[in-house]
Subunit: 416 residues, 2 copies
């Protein structure tokens, strides 16, 4: 069995968090100077571990084993959310590096090819899950032409040029070259911590369906317009939000979640009845049938509210991400490893968050491992995981990787 | 009886609408080049009508009769809302000018002193009702120091300096010099048009109570945070808005109005449960007792919603405008005049909108006259009133002014 180097793992995580350090976290948006420095640093580490390193045309960093055998991809995304945590993405990236090095160093596993990698822009500074979508062939040149930075509006093409990536080819998945893909990540919720578990084995990644819902009413003077004749789209949006809260539980699954993230009233002045209200709404579930049921209910509720308020409604679905089930054999490998290193402290669970694994899973066998998030906090610089859980997660993933590769390559445990 | 010059009235309204002309309306923010040109033009007209003209230190334009007798102030505000109508404010300003001229020209009324005026910044580009509050002594130098333009942030002091007003004294009301104040205005609602009336005699101007309500919850990941543990301040704000809609009618007066003008969720991203929601809310009524009742109810509902949602709530009252009742004798004078010129087509009504008259009414006898707004539209460039209603309103106000001045000065009708 491979033994990971816990000191080196923690040290590399600390080193990686220096790229864009911000308070106890990092600010490392995709293609920023700090992000590109971190990717070049990773490529150097891959080379030092005996791998061929490449940064492709969207910034994905690949460490390719020199062996001709099918390899197991292990990684996550390298960039961070704005002013966010040091582990979201970085954890899985450094796990991949550490496992590749451990395997290369140790006679037990030196022949088992690990291909560590780091995706670009899972966090969507330009477009969510950009790097992994490029890898599986779901990213068109047209989308690259159109994408701009959500914070400062820089076109993606200009960002790629500034990062020196504009003439670099993008790497596409070659399924016959890879055994599959493993990704470790912080949980970003409190389920593990709340139940005293230390390892989560992801069963599926939920699908996210997102909507922009617009109500059009009649803008008017807030003092002179009688209540009886108002057509107030702001009230319609508020009514939709509360009606969803009241009625979704009847149709939702036990783990469904739904969120109104934004309500904009136009023009937004205290003494003007708004003329328009825009609401951003999403729901998530691991079952497509549940997502479809909630979509039907949402559209019914929008119509009910529109009729009751005298407003016109438009519903635009802006994201239709289907749930992705993780590979059963890979889940089994992670579970066996967890049972060995953390007996009684592991659990199978769906992922409520999106991850590159849901994209890679379209083309390759894929599985994910979660470690606990302290207080369930994520997307904030105070996000953290204890060192012992960080070390445990890496060791569990390393053992799972060994058993997956041995199974796939037909090599008996312990063989050189 | 004075007879107004209808052609001159319409011509002056057209001329005044050239200052900052925008589509069929005007864009003439307070202290803009166009606004100051319109004020200087007014001052010239006052001088031509035999009055002493002054622009004071906040831009109020006064036309002062040379007679020592107590005069009747007639006017409104000269500036417009952004990209708004040609009559909001301008109507009452040009009525004052036309009535002053008609009185001066006609032997019947030449001895009755009319003092036309134009207030500055009723519309609140820097601070609502600025000019009239300055006139009654409610505007401090400290407030002038602090005020900035709501659109572009220019400090009021700098705007006054640019307009050449920084060393000019502000005029304060001298109650013994004035009989009272009359203001004509477009209705800004549809009550007159809907009931086929042509003249509104304002009984009172509603009080406006305004609030900033903040709910604090727990910001978290929209995918990984179970519904059961959420403390969603956005949902609390939506719930408050709908609960107000459901429960206010039980405590409100027949003409109470209430409006949620803005709901801001922070950070406002589709995949983040907001951590904070800010809601701007106001209600209006002509009776203080109703306002007090609604204030108590609002605070109860905020607490109910906060407890139910697990959020913390803060309520800050940002405006406490008390209702202002118009002078009964002045109302009577307008009504008699309306009965003469528009028999059966006038009505007493409260004003749902704020006006300078509510401020001046603190120190002087005050009344207001409304003319119909086509389609009830205001604060939009398409706002309009028919020429025949514009002419009628001015004639009704002129006759009312004569009867008020004769009553006050003890001059019999028709006496030279």
């Amino acid at each position: 069995m491979p033994k990971i180097n816990a000191e080196r793992l923690l040290s590399d995580l600390r080193r990686f968090a220096q790229f864009g350090a911000y308070r106890t976290g990092v600010h490392r948006p995709t293609y920023s100077t700090q992000d590109m420095e971190s990717r070049r640093w990773l490529a150097q580490q891959y080379e030092s571990a005996g791998l061929q390193a490449h940064i492709d045309g969207v910034g994905n960093v690949f460490g390719t084993p020199r062996s001709k055998q099918r390899s197991l991809l292990i990684g996550s995304h390298a960039e961070s959310q704005n002013h966010a945590g040091r582990l979201d993405g970085a954890l899985g990236v450094i796990y991949g590096l550490e496992i590749a090095r451990s395997f290369a160093e140790q006679p037990c596993c030196a022949g088992l090819p690990i291909a560590p990698l780091a995706w670009a822009d899972e966090e969507g500074h330009y477009s969510s899950l950009l790097g992994s979508r490029s890898f599986v062939g779901d990213l068109t040149e047209d989308e690259i032409d159109r994408a701009v930075n959500v914070d400062h509006g820089l076109p993606l093409r200009q960002a790629l040029r500034a990062a020196g990536l504009h003439d670099v080819p993008r790497y596409l998945v070659e399924p016959e070259r890879h055994v599959g893909y493993l990704e470790a990540h912080i949980e970003q919720g409190d389920a593990l911590e709340a139940s005293g578990q230390r390892i989560g084995i992801v069963t599926s990644i939920v699908g996210t369906w997102q909507y922009s819902i617009v109500f059009h009413g009649v803008q008017n003077h807030a003092g002179t317009t009688r209540m009886a004749i108002r057509k107030d789209p702001g009230l319609a949006a508020a009514r939709l939000s509360t009606t969803i809260a009241d009625r979704f539980p009847q149709k939702a699954g036990p783990r469904s979640v739904w969120t109104t993230g934004r309500i904009n009233l136009d023009p937004g002045a205290p003494n003007i009845i708004p003329g328009k209200a825009v609401m951003l709404f999403q729901f998530r579930d691991a079952e497509t049938a549940v997502l479809e049921r909630l979509d039907v209910l949402l559209r019914e509720l929008v119509q009910e509210v529109a009729i009751a308020s005298g407003c016109q409604a438009e519903v635009a679905q802006t994201e239709i991400g289907l749930p992705r089930h993780m590979d059963p054999a890979f889940q089994e490998a992670i579970e066996k490893s967890a049972a060995r290193h953390a007996p009684g402290a592991y659990v199978r669970m769906p992922s409520g968050a999106s991850h590159d694994a849901q994209i890679v899973g379209k083309k390759l066998k894929t599985a994910m491992l979660f470690v606990p998030s302290r207080g369930g906090i994520s997307h904030h610089w105070s996000e953290d995981t204890s060192d012992t859980d960080v070390i445990l997660g890496c060791q569990v993933l390393a053992d799972a990787a060994e058993s997956i590769l041995r199974g796939d390559l037909g090599i008996a445990p312990g063989a050189p």
